[in-house]
Amino acid sequence: MMFTIVLYILALVLLIVSFIKDTGKTKMALKKAWKSFENILPQFIVILIIVGIMLAAISPEVISRLIGNQSGWTGMLIAAVIGAITLVPGFVAFPLAAALLNGGAGLMQIAVFISTLMMVGIVTIPVEISYFGKKATFLRNGMAFLFSFVVALVIGVILR
């Protein structure tokens, strides 16, 4: 929240400076900003609707049942997959993770969940491909998926 405000102030200050220095260029910058946004807007809307439906269908209770303390590797795999397909804003994800922990989810399962949640984006893959192409996109998401288990293992070892 705070950060968004900082970002707004930064953008506005730079915009004003830019405007004073060169009105034409500033107008062009705003035009480009709008064009880039409008270019990607249909895909953004798709993402937002899919996320809404998915989050409504998968409740925290369901998740914590699937990835409990005793769920072991299967639980970690399930956690990783759920994290990879869902897309939750950070300020929702961390309290959710804390709630899941309290609800009986295992620490390593939560670590892998948080990690794939943030790094792997199945829903956003079409957007990613339109900028990076298929190969780089699949490589990045695949490696991030595997890497999430490394994160979980390290956390499991250090915080045990």
């Binding site: 990607i40 956003t124 956390i155």
Partner: protein
Amino acid sequence: MMKLLKRYRIALVLAVLNLLLLVIFPTIGRSSIELTRNNVREMLMVIPPIFMLLGLLDVWVKRETMIKLMGDNSGFSGAVIAFLMGSAAAGPLYAAFPIAGILLKKGSKLSNVLIFIGAWSTTKIPLLLFEASSLGWEFMVTRFAVNLVGIGTIAFVIEKFLAVEDKKAIYKKAATMN
């Protein structure tokens, strides 16, 4: 008009699907619409400054400057700049891709742009603070340390794995997307 409809057709299909949900499973349908509305609100809050900065970056930062800062010969400092840029971000991952596109268009090294994406996805400073308060400092610091290594490794490996033509195609895409 037809063109507009075509571009938004998947979004429209999904919107209809959501309305059908509302009829068939009212509870899920209602909460999914509620969630979508909240997400849209979040997007509209966070995205204007990001795209404003993107536009300014495109207009003011010269290609030569970007190449010097984050280009092929920018070395370790280029990677650090990319990491800091990504970490200082706010907003969802999908907002990072248009910025990555501009960075590529301006001549940044691919691995640096991938570091930027990695940092944006998982080591954003505002989120780190949030993570620490929700899951504890040890959890956050451990994850951060492992991520530092992971983000760099992933970027390095992808850069190595891609053939020259793959990279050319990516830079070409970046020039047309923005």
